[in-house]
């Protein structure tokens, strides 16, 4: 997987508020997303996952660092051309299929919205064809185009949300908890759909989620965030087999498994950040094992590796 990355997030920080109320939601975060992979960001609510996704989508300005897409900077002030690139090639899917669709618009308009704003069609016939194709891609019938969102189930609405992103022919999909609001059975349908689209359209996903069982199933690599900082990043199976950072370990043991025997014996770990004395070196981003990165001091990482 050692091509050049599709997306590089380089040392970004995001601040909210100003003056004394200033609050750093994301702090010095870096990672790369390679073409055709699924990279997942996991962490508790408020850890900054969604903020990172939105910073990439240019919803939140970043206060430090830069974001590079196919070698071009897409953060900060942009030329209209670069701006267009972001809004077409990177699409977002949201958590709540109910809230993210305009209730009064027909599906046809909802799916076409991006096409209209960027005039991505020659004529009406082409627009209709694109919408119908996007609906088919997500397993919906083209005739659904004339209906309204409230006529659909949660799973179908999430498909509509995905169709709306696909119609733009994106390369990168930022999916922010796209299945958390869905029921178990529908969840499986949407996971399968996302995986199929990834294969058939060679899409790349940045997947933001807190449900680790789903994340393990769909991700190639996983990045763990704690209070606005990346604390660990590894191949998905490596992370589950050998979590290094104490926060990652606490997170993984907390995930319930469908096994009564194991669950009944489980001892939960509560993570408390270690207090550091000022003469200790600051933690840094260390490659502990090939492709397995963790935030810690040299000494800490060595001790975690021995566990």
């Amino acid at each position: 997987m050692k091509q050049s990355p599709l997306l590089s997030v380089k040392n970004i920080s995001v601040d909210f508020g100003s003056g004394r109320k200033k609050f750093r939601a994301v702090s010095n975060v870096s990672f790369d997303v390679y073409e055709s992979e699924t990279l997942s960001l996991v962490g508790e609510s408020g850890s900054g996952k969604t903020t990172i996704g939105r910073a990439i989508m240019r919803v939140h300005p970043i206060s430090e660092g830069e974001i590079i897409y196919r070698g071009e900077r897409i953060s900060g002030d942009l030329t209209p051309k670069a701006e267009r690139l972001v809004h077409q090639k990177i699409q977002m899917i949201f958590q709540d299929p109910m809230a993210s669709l305009n209730e009064r618009a027909k599906i046809d308009y909802i799916v076409s919205e991006g096409l209209y704003s960027f005039h991505l069609f020659k004529d009406e016939a082409e627009r209709v064809a694109k919408v119908e194709q996007a609906l088919r891609d997500v397993g919906l019938l083209p005739e659904f185009a004339t209906r309204f969102p409230h006529e659909f189930s949660g799973g179908q609405r999430q498909r509509i949300g995905i169709a709306r992103a696909l119609v733009m022919e994106p390369e990168l999909l930022v999916a922010d908890e796209p299945i958390s609001a869905l029921d178990v059975s529908i969840r499986a349908q949407v996971i399968n759909l996302l995986n199929k689209l990834k294969r058939n359209k060679s899409l790349t996903y940045l997947f933001i989620a807190h449900d680790l069982s789903v994340v393990r199933f769909i991700s190639d690599r996983i990045a763990v965030i704690y209070r606005g900082r990346l604390v660990e990043l590894a191949q998905s199976e490596d992370l589950f087999r050998k979590p290094l950072h104490p926060y990652t370990r606490a997170l993984l043991t907390a995930v319930p498994t469908p096994d009564p025997e194991i669950e009944k014996k489980k001892k939960i770990i509560v993570y408390k950040p270690a207090a550091r004395s000022p003469d200790e070196p600051a933690p840094s981003w260390i490659e502990a094992e090939p492709g397995h990165f963790v935030l810690g001091t040299e000494k800490e990482v060595n001790s975690w590796l021995k566990l």
């Binding site: 949660g154 178990v184 349908q189 789903v214 997170l251 995930v255 319930p256 498994t257």
Partner: protein, 349 residues
Amino acid sequence: MSGALLLSAEDLVVQFSLRGRKLTALRGASLELFEGETLAVVGESGSGKSVLAKTFLGMLDKNGTITAGSIQYRGKDLARLSRERDWLEIRGKKIAMIFQDPMTALNPLKTIGEQIREVIELHRGMDRRQSKIETLKTLEAVGIQDPERRYRQYPHEFSGGMRQRVVIASAVACKPEILICDEPTTALDVTVQAQILDLIKALKAEYAMSVLFITHDLGVVANVADRVAVMYAGQVIEQGTVDEIFTDPRAPYTWALLASLPQLGVKGEDLFAIKGTPPSLFKEIKGDAFAPRNPLALEVDFVAEPPIFDVSPTHWAKTWLLDPRAPAIRPPDSVLRLREKLLAERKLS
């Protein structure tokens, strides 16, 4: 099971009237809760889990009524209880409930301490001073540090997990016999969820309660439950010990529910997904309600509703597959793999 039968619902039917139409949310649901146990109720959204729980507290929405069936509890039929005065003897005092969203259960304008204290004063007939002391004790019992200071704070000053602890505190403050938890951890992060589950288990032991735990997460079921009731379209379709449900499920819907778990998926392959959606509860349902979504459905499933078949003294299921005349049909591979895995672990330990 551990104790005597404490609460039982028999063939409960609940209907809601909605703009002139009738929705049948419970279509003859039966369930037993024994003393000292945790019974998990699982099932898809809309299957009737919350409605069932609310019937035990006389808390159905105004447009809903119990039209048939009974709820036996300590010699009373709760399904026949209509006077609010009678319910006050039970609700909160004998049977308490924790809801999914802790924010809706708390009054944002009152301090945490006052909210719990009032419950104690009302239900346990204590005076102000006594009920305050009891409140502080309860706050401590649910793991809230510095209860004196926390007593004077408002809900918004608490994190999601802390708020859920407060809600739990006010539910157990009156030492109820039965604690009903309706998805108490769905809105929480996994690490916080794990702590809340531990807390509920600890309080259950400390206060000698029986727990009815509603969830759609089978991992959570494995963690908390002694027994499991699986609901589909307004009925309990299978009930058994947690081991029976995980290693020897019998109803096709239970198979489907287990098979959709991402933990049972094989990376790179499709996850098992249940096709379609649950049936409309506005219409009359013929046969086995799951049949239209069940690729393995038998002909009889579309015609007649299956009765309850016993699998063991603690395990029953409502599926024609258990009829002696039914063909032998195997559960999906992933369910068999789960069974193998769990049984192998048993042998090891």
